[in-house]
């Protein structure tokens, strides 16, 4: 202990040590919560647009987002997602790029437009072929476009602001992207045959280079003099504006899109599997974040680093740039600070106790005594340690975190947001939830009846047999069906017994009641009763009741007999009260397993026909697997837990009430 008290020291010093450690604790906890806030921002916000987005660009000051739509228009949105202006064209937007105050737009009606940030049309130029990609200079004087007619008819063209063509070249292949450099003297095009070519304003090739495979996506940052291109071999190449290769990086997954964030000096790569990879300007991977699949387009606001991605057709997901940057660093820092917090709190606590010398001496003495005591019983602790550790990790932690997750929106490894009772509302608002609860209760009541009445009856019948040998062989015979696994048994019941050509239907046909034959599990009215019928004649836990009845002293039976008590009467008034501990046990066990019975419905009807046999546990399963709504799934777990807990409590109350009597 660092601050072990020495009584001669003054009170002042101890108080100072305590206050310093307290300040450290508060500062550290404060910083930890800030780090956690960052992690929460990584989730992204979703915007849904009216139509499909083909291209995204940003205004020079970063305040406007331009969306090039498939339905013939350009929309400018402000930071809040409000539409500021729209610009209509005659064809779907093919490409857009901003340079300076100018927005260069190409559309499928073979026009390239130059707009200012207010959406005013400065010029429109008709180009010969479809302008699949466009770029321009920062002063609005040059428009560069890659156009195509067919695989063999492609052009790389430069226009001035009056729409006069300066040059037109045949790039020999379809151009996938063009950029106009900030020196206002050069353009770059990337073509489908993996060429990257630098052309000066006279149309002369200044430099050409190759990448490994067909290009997938590219981005250019004029402020950082950086061009990055990804190819189908999952490489990312970085060039300067002289087309000198700076580096190349191999990504272990299929790359969908790349983007440069000049405000954070980072490069973003999004993969087919929905992994967001952050790299620095040297091509070193900083971190990766699991976002969402199906992102096909990525654009970075050069001013604030906001990342705009497009998922599927028209789902815009916006990620906060600084949050993405902070994420990686924060994840490491967060885990460090969580440990630091605990250490600091312990130090502060020791420092606090240290302020009171008499108490601290006693307390530290006591702690040492406890430690000595624990050491003396070390063998006991060592022996139970594995069990305790396993139970803490795999039982206690899930039980407690389950109660917590039910109130959060949880995406594993990405974020966890507190949402209050929203998950429970989602659960209850599901139109089939109450149908499910109704079915669950029906199953529950019938399961308990099935678990108690027939098994007790059969146990009594076995006991009533006079021959011990036949008692034995009956028990053995009833025990044997256990060799068929539950799943197999269920499938046999489903097809062999309740199926269309199953036992019951063929029996009905044989006795001439063929018109009653029906696919029992496939008919809405009969399905749930057919499921309840599975397992007939429900011998269940007969062996438990048999064992309990054997334990009843013979003298009681004899006395009952002498008193002229009939068999039925004896069962009701003597046997059942005597085996009530076992009845309670079977009641609770069958209650718990009934609520949790998943395979019965999943293997047979999957909740159908319609929703006739839908149960909450089935919905829980779908929330976990299909929808990955872990919060809602956990909420359903909590709901079912409360139902089960109710039974346990009820049972305990009956028991205590009986004990008092």
């Amino acid at each position: 202990m660092i601050n072990y008290p020495k009584s001669s020291r003054g009170m002042g010093l101890r108080a100072v040590i305590f206050i310093i450690s307290l300040i450290l604790v508060i500062a550290s906890i404060f910083y930890t919560t800030k780090l956690q806030d960052y992690a929460r921002l990584v989730q992204g916000t979703t915007l849904t647009t009216d139509g499909s987005v083909n291209a995204v660009s940003f205004s020079q000051d970063g305040s406007l987002t331009y969306l090039g739509m498939r339905d013939n228009k350009v929309i400018a949105l402000d930071q809040n997602g409000k539409t500021i202006w729209e610009f209509h064209t005659d064809g779907p937007i093919l490409d857009m790029k901003t340079n300076g105050d100018y927005l260069y737009v190409s559309d499928d009606s073979r026009y390239v437009h130059v707009l200012d940030h207010n959406g005013n049309q400065l010029s429109s130029t008709k180009v010969g072929y479809r302008p699949t990609t466009v770029a321009g200079s920062g002063d609005g004087s040059r428009i560069l476009t890659g156009t195509t007619m067919s695989a063999m008819k492609n052009r790389f063209q430069l226009y001035d602001s009056n729409g006069e063509q300066i040059y037109s070249l045949d790039p020999l292949n379809i151009i996938s992207d063009v950029y106009y450099l900030d020196d206002s003297q050069h353009g770059i095009f990337i073509s489908r045959n993996a060429s990257v070519v630098l052309i000066d304003d006279e149309g002369q090739e200044a430099k050409a280079t190759k990448i490994d495979y067909y290009p997938v996506d590219s981005d250019y940052s004029k402020s950082d003099d950086l061009l990055i291109i990804s190819d189908e071999g999952n490489h990312v190449f970085a060039f300067d504006t002289g087309l000198n290769t700076l580096w190349r990086a191999k990504i272990d997954q299929k790359v969908n899109a790349v983007g440069i964030d000049p405000s954070h000096n980072q490069i973003y790569v999004i993969t087919h599997d929905g992994i967001f990879i952050i790299m620095d300007y040297e091509g070193e991977e900083i971190t990766r974040i699991n976002v969402t699949k199906e992102i096909r387009l990525l654009a970075v606001n050069p001013v604030n680093g906001t990342v705009m991605t497009i998922k599927g057709d028209n789902n815009l997901i916006v990620y906060d740039g600084s949050a993405l940057t902070g994420f990686a660093r924060n994840q490491i820092l967060l885990s460090i600070f969580e440990v630091v917090n605990i250490i600091l709190i312990i130090i502060a606590a020791i420092a606090f106790i240290n302020m009171f010398p008499t108490i601290s001496r006693k307390l530290f003495g006591a702690v040492i005594n406890v430690l000595k005591l624990l050491y003396r019983h070390k063998l006991s602790y060592v022996l139970i340690l594995p069990t305790i550790v396993l139970l803490l990790i795999f039982n206690y932690y899930p039980a407690i975190s389950g109660l917590f997750i039910a109130f959060t929106d949880y995406k594993p490894g990405i974020y966890m947001r507190w949402v209050g009772t929203k998950n429970f509302r989602t659960m209850v608002e599901n139109p089939y939830f109450w149908t499910g609860v109704g079915n669950m209760l029906l199953f529950l009541i019938t399961d308990i009846i099935k678990a108690l009445i027939p098994p007790i009856f059969f146990a009594e019948l076995i006991i009533a047999m006079r021959s011990k040998a036949s008692q034995y062989w009956t028990r053995v015979a009833l025990y044997l069906p256990g060799i068929l696994p539950g799943v197999a048994g269920m499938l046999v019941w489903k097809d062999g017994i309740l199926g269309h050509n199953g036992l019951i239907n063929s029996f009905l046909r044989v006795v001439g009641l063929g018109h009653l034959a029906t696919p029992w599990l496939g008919t809405e009215q009969t399905a749930i009763w057919a499921l309840i019928f599975i397992g007939f004649p429900f011998i269940g836990s007969y062996i438990i009741f048999y064992g309990a009845l054997i334990g009843v002293p013979d003298s009681l039976f004899d006395a009952a007999k002498i008193d002229g008590c009939s068999w039925w009467r004896r069962i009701i008034s003597i046997d059942i009260p005597l085996i009530s501990p076992q009845i309670k046990y079977v009641f609770v066990v069958s209650f718990i397993s009934s609520v949790q019975n998943f395979s019965l419905v999943y293997l047979t009807t999957m909740g159908g026909p319609g929703h006739a046999t839908y149960t909450p546990i089935l919905e829980l399963y779908y929330n976990m697997t299909k929808f990955q709504q872990y919060g809602v799934a956990a909420a359903m777990g909590v709901f079912l837990f409360i139902v089960i807990f109710g039974a346990t409590i009820m049972n305990l109350r009956i028991q205590t009430a009986q004990d008092k009597m």
Partner: protein, 293 residues
């Protein structure tokens, strides 16, 4: 007087008649024979269907195979053996783990005195009121976060951990009934703690250990939902979750309905062994005395 007369009458009625009388006994016998037949029916149907040709199967459930088609069993076995071995390995390890750790903890809880013993015991027992459905989602997420999802660890570790709760409770009840004198005598003779555990406590507890082992093995072998959630690849999966899809897969290849039923039937082979092994301990229902709430 009237009361006495009534009693007399009933006494006489009960001697040779009543439930011990021949009529009642025959009735019981008939009921039990019918019950046994119905209870056995799913297995009988499975056995008979598994030996049929497609033509015989089309004749209906009642028809019997003329010449048993044993090839169905061979084909069926070939198709389930891989997943069955997975199941066996996982269940044997898990069952052994449950019985081993639980018996040690139960022994420590009964024979040792140490600070916090009550806390440990109630801490374990408290888990009995936590149903699997509450921990299902968080446990699944835990497997993901530990990076053991889609590995056997995701089955074995939770199985060993969760199985201990009930087992410790059962073993503790049983071991606390073992005579103290035995242990004291052994201590005087210089036996160490672990020797007493291995040489006295365990041998005396064999029946209850066997019951627990058979029950645990059966429960994990039959488990359906958890493996389906945490194991993604069919080659790593246990048998029960894939039984239905295995039968669906092969029905396209062999076009033999009998094979499907053979697979259902043969999937129970490990349970035949545990049933045979457990029969001796289960059949008298002696364990029922310990099952109280």
């Amino acid at each position: 007087m009237l009361k006495k007369g009534k009693t007399e009458r009933f006494r006489g009625f009960n001697k040779g008649k009543g439930v011990d009388g021949p009529v009642a006994q025959i009735t019981i016998a008939v009921i039990m024979i019918c019950t046994i037949f119905i209870v056995m029916l799913p297995i009988l149907i499975t056995i008979s269907s598994s030996l049929k040709t497609n033509y015989e199967a089309a004749l209906g459930v009642w028809s019997l195979p003329k010449t048993p088609k044993w090839e169905n069993w061979g084909t069926g076995m070939q198709n389930i053996i891989g997943n069955m071995l997975n199941s066996l390995i996982i269940c044997v390890i898990s069952t052994a783990g449950v019985v081993f750790f639980s018996s040690i903890v139960a022994y420590v809880l009964v024979r040792h005195n140490f600070p916090g013993k009550e806390l440990v015991f109630y801490g374990i027992i408290a888990l009995m009121i936590v149903p699997g459905v509450l921990t299902l989602t968080p446990n699944f997420l835990l497997m993901m976060n530990l990076g053991i999802k889609n590995t056997w660890w995701a089955l074995i570790l939770p199985y060993i951990s969760g199985g201990q709760v009930g087992a410790i409770f059962l073993f503790r009840t049983f071991m606390s009934q073992q005579p103290v004198d035995l242990f004291e005598a052994a201590k005087i003779d210089g036996a160490s703690d672990l020797t007493m555990y291995a040489k006295i406590a365990i041998p005396l507890a064999i029946p209850v250990l066997a019951i627990q082992a058979v029950g645990t093995f059966g429960a994990y072998y039959n488990d359906y939902l958890w493996p389906m959630l945490v194991i993604d690849e069919q080659s790593k999966q246990t048998l029960m979750p894939v039984l239905r899809s295995l039968t669906a897969q092969i029905s396209g290849i062999y076009d033999e309905q009998g094979v499907t039923h053979a697979m259902y039937l043969l999937s129970g082979i490990p349970l035949i062994f545990t049933t045979a092994f457990g029969l001796k301990y289960f059949i008298n229902g002696d364990f029922a005395a310990g099952l109280k709430l």
